[in-house]
């Protein structure tokens, strides 16, 4: 049973089918002048239009990237290194490593970086973000949905507060984990930059996009042949772009089902665990969280041993973050929410997705309770 959909989720068959021609017949380099290239170029631009339409953007505001991490890097570094004199970054303590490590790099080379604290549910108050903005701030970055806990951040409010404090500041949101369940319209969110990653919602790995509001000045991270209006050089992966756009349309059409059916699966799973392991403490907030995350603490249970035993029992889950070696590390997200390192080592993340079913979740919950009870 696969309960790690926030790590990655299976590709949708329609996506696989849509990509197929670009792995064989339509092989052209989209930047050439001849017919073979034109065929690829047309497919690429059609994918761009479709992707833009899903998030209420204009086609040329879409920059295809290799995924969420690259999009986040481009958003932050691009805003800091652009020709405007502003150099600062404001972000939050529970952001993904793609943001926090990029911010840390910028700090190491002398850029002013402010990391806003979060409350016990992992939420960052809009007022605090706005208060951290100064005349030197280039970009504010707050994620839409936290990858470990599912906590939804008030991105629209934050964008409003920041723009009120200083309209020159760019607002970025890593929306990688929010796309499955939340209606995303870049104008309603009020963001200038927004990251998405294809494989989190049924698209292929190694593709994503950065939405860049028209008129936003962004220095590229990857220089070269000038693809993507110079914002991201490198020969296009047309198959990936087509797969991404297809997955975006399918996932967007299924958001209602996510918010109802998948939420019901998650809620039933959570209830079964809490009824049968009464000490279990959810870290995922009861209100204001994504419908498919459940991060939960089993006091007295080592998460790495529980995850190992679950894997032996055929259940794939995670501790939220893992290092290169695959070892569970103490979660910076849970620590920022006030958990001690020892408590963080008792937390497991279960995430549901488009292939999850209620029956499966019921069986899984029983196994989780049995094993956690045994290890306590």
């Amino acid at each position: 049973m696969y309960l790690d959909h926030a790590a990655t989720t299976p590709m949708r068959p329609e996506v696989v089918a849509a990509m197929e021609p670009f792995s064989s017949d339509v092989f052209g380099n989209s930047s050439g002048i001849h017919a073979v290239s034109r065929k690829a170029k047309n497919a690429l631009e059609e994918a761009r239009e479709r992707a833009a339409a899903v998030i209420g953007a204009r086609p040329l505001e879409i920059v295809f990237t290799s995924g969420g991490t690259e999009s986040d890097n481009l958003a932050l570094k691009g805003a800091v290194f652009n020709p405007t004199p502003r150099r600062g970054v404001v972000t939050a303590a529970t952001e993904h490593e793609a943001i926090l490590e990029t911010a840390d790099f910028l700090k190491r080379i002398g850029m002013p970086v402010t990391i806003a604290a979060v409350d016990g549910e992992g939420r960052v108050p809009p007022g605090e973000v706005a208060a951290a903005v100064s005349g030197d701030t280039a970009v504010v970055s707050v994620m839409l949905v936290n990858n470990e806990t599912g906590t939804v951040q008030p991105v629209a409010e934050i964008a409003r507060a920041v723009k009120e404090a200083d309209p020159e500041v760019l607002v970025h949101s890593d929306a990688v984990q929010g796309f499955n369940s939340m209606e995303i319209d870049v104008d309603e969110l009020g963001v200038d930059l927004l990251s998405l990653s294809g494989h989190k919602f049924g698209g292929p790995k190694g593709c994503g996009l950065l939405y860049v509001r028209e008129g936003t000045s962004l220095e590229p991270v990857q220089h070269g042949g000038g693809q993507e209006l110079g914002r991201r050089s490198g020969t296009h992966d047309v198959a990936a772009a087509v797969g991404l756009a297809t997955a975006m349309e399918l996932a967007a059409a299924e958001r209602g089902r996510f918010r109802e059916e998948i939420a019901a699966v998650r809620d039933a799973f959570r209830s079964l665990i809490r009824e049968n392991f009464e000490d279990a403490v959810p870290n995922t907030p009861a209100a204001g969280s994504s419908p498919h995350h459940l991060n939960i603490r089993f006091p007295g249970v080592s998460n790495q041993i529980l995850l190992m035993r679950l894997d032996q029992a055929g259940i794939s889950a995670s501790a939220g973050s893992a290092c290169q070696s695959g070892a569970a590390t103490v979660s910076h997200v849970l620590e920022a929410m006030g958990l001690s390192p020892d408590e963080a080592r008792e937390c497991v993340r279960f995430t549901f997705g488009w292939t999850s079913s209620g029956d499966e979740a019921e069986v899984a919950a029983k196994t989780v309770v049995d094993l956690a009870g045994e290890l306590r």
């Binding site: 041993i305 190992m308 035993r309 894997d311 290092c323 070696s325 070892a327 569970a328």
Partner: protein
Amino acid sequence: MKALVAMSGGVDSSVAAGLMKERGHEVIGVTLKLWSGPGGEAPTAGCCTVSDAEDARRVAGQLDVPYYVLDYTEEFGGGVVERFVSDYASGRTPNPCIECNRTVKFDALLSNLDDFDCDVLVTGHHARIEMGDDGRPVLLRGRDADKDQSYVLSMLGRAQLARLRFPVGDLTKTQVRAVAAELGLRTAGKPESMDICFVGRRDYRSFLRDRAPHAFAPGTIVDTDGRRLGDHDGVAGFTIGQRRGLGVATGEPRYVVDIDPDTATVVVGTRDRLGVSALQLSAISWVAEPAMGAVTAQYRAHGEAVGATLEGPTLIFDTPQEAVAPGQTVSFYRGDEVLGGGLIAAAVA
């Protein structure tokens, strides 16, 4: 039987896993992540490096067994590394690999075998466990005398041995490599690691300098009559019996014969001052029953076992030994059988 195999990424533990699988047991491979640098990075040299974990993962893949990396950096950093640093700072010469076996590898894995839902813990140590006459397990030296690792296992007790397996202990290193090649394991020709895993290829003194600057209070080097011969920049840089790098010019070879951390004094003397006739031991443990009287004793990882007599916490050598450093482990034997071990608290001239 379900076996938890501690895989370091070396050839011995690869073969241990392979043999258990061949014998029809259910195998789960684990690598312990024990150490990370200040930025969380894995060490790049020594026995627990990034590429070693990758080798272990690939071998587990070849054997088609589940494989996990478990994080014990906290236990290792708090227990083993702190102890290593504080031992050197107090003039002792620690053996971190033994401390790691005792407080991390065996403690974390062996005492939690039920949690892992496994019956036995398997490692790639060159040592043997056999049934004694009373039907209870005894610990023996490995078949390959050159590779024998029983010295670092002498802290084990019978209850632990009952749930441990050392499948390569019956093989010579050459045979181990042959089995690895037969099984097609990628580690068959992998060279052995000799580095202390958390220190890596750098000098352990520079590691200590970073971690325990207090142990690098300058002091004096004196001869056995108390005459000042020179200065040094910290007692942690010295080991009993050390000859090189003393920085003092004398007519004949001088060796470190004593270290006094309280006054930061290093005493050097001629070779005859290194003689040790007996050892005061602490933290003595027994594999089975406490033993007294004649034994053979090994006080270095790759040293010979020498004749000695145990009298309570005192070990009296049959003939005086040279340069025995406090902080090191002594293992006691009768023939190939490991009786137990202890830590050297003090050496008696």
